[in-house]
């Protein structure tokens, strides 16, 4: 995934769900702080994990439905958003590491910088 695609996903979430403050977690979040990372497992992803405001599970589900895997958005663009909550496991068994790779600040600015 590229920064431009991440930016597109963020703008679409903001526009479609009328929210302007949410968190990106998981491997796509690295693009916010490292726009041109070397190719590898982290950049191979084509989904953006999004925690909506208030960790709202229903909204997370709506985001997944409207912009998630196999949605019209995914079919058209080849990448998608996945609504998650802070309870979503994101590390394989036996792996330790920070669960929270939030990049809300920089991405929030990114949204407003591009809107």
């Amino acid at each position: 995934m590229y920064l431009m695609q991440l930016r597109h996903v963020i703008l679409e979430i903001g526009r479609r769900f009328e929210i302007d403050d949410f968190h990106i977690v998981g491997s796509a979040a690295i693009l916010a702080v490292l726009p041109d990372p070397p190719a590898g497992a982290l950049t191979a992803t084509r989904d953006v994990d999004v925690i909506p405001p208030g960790d709202d599970a229903r909204l997370a589900d709506r985001i997944s439905f409207v912009m998630g895997e196999a949605s019209d958005f995914d079919t058209e663009h080849g990448y998608h958003a996945q609504g998650v909550t802070s309870r979503t496991p994101d590390f394989a068994e036996g792996l330790d590491g920070p669960r929270d790779t939030r990049a809300g600040g920089p991405l929030h600015r990114l949204v407003h910088g591009s809107a």
């Binding site: 191979a44 599970a57 589900d61 997944s64 895997e69 949605s71 080849g78 998650v84 309870r87 496991p89």
Partner: protein
């Protein structure tokens, strides 16, 4: 007591990668709990996000959210639907090859996964179907970069969303 029962249910689900139905859970719970109590427990756990529910009525299965997440489970269901279609009509793999070409352009960083899908699409159908639907870390990683989900109709997708849920 209720806390112990909740923990026991969560432990049993954590040890069951394929999830458990309510009767399966009831059989494994010691001491036994009544059916209404078990339903209440499962309902509470679902509302607190600890349990994911898939299916309806007698086909309902429960999964631990510590073990899997709803997106992975839905992705597997989407691939099961496609697998059934390809089993009936292997020529559908041609559409997936088209999609794969598109994914290669959109996300060149996913080349390792794309190459694997190409190999699977060009290989024997039973192997493709097995990898698509397998409950393994490798298949889960591959499904994230899958060219197959465009073969699911919006009605099929909606049904999967409605019947696989957390919270």
């Amino acid at each position: 007591m209720r806390e112990d029962q909740r923990d026991m249910v969560l432990r049993l689900l954590a040890a069951a990668p394929a999830g458990l139905s309510a009767p399966e859970l009831a059989r494994q719970l010691k001491p036994r709990v009544s059916q209404p109590t078990l339903w209440r427990l499962l309902d509470e756990l679902r509302h607190s996000g600890r349990v994911i529910v898939q299916g309806r009525a007698r086909a309902t299965r429960y999964y631990s959210s510590d073990r899997t997440d709803v997106a992975s489970l839905r992705s597997r269901r989407l691939h099961e639907v496609v697998a059934r279609k390809i089993a009936r009509d292997p020529s559908l793999a041609g559409e997936a090859r088209e999609r794969l070409r598109r994914l290669r352009q959109v996300n060149p960083h996913g080349r390792v996964y794309h190459d694997r899908w190409q190999e699977l699409l060009d290989g024997p159908v039973p192997r493709l179907l097995r990898v698509m639907t397998e409950d393994s870390e490798t298949s889960e990683a591959l499904r994230k970069e899958s060219p197959l989900t465009t073969l699911v109709t919006s009605d099929e997708r909606r049904r999967i969303f409605e019947t696989t849920r957390a919270g």
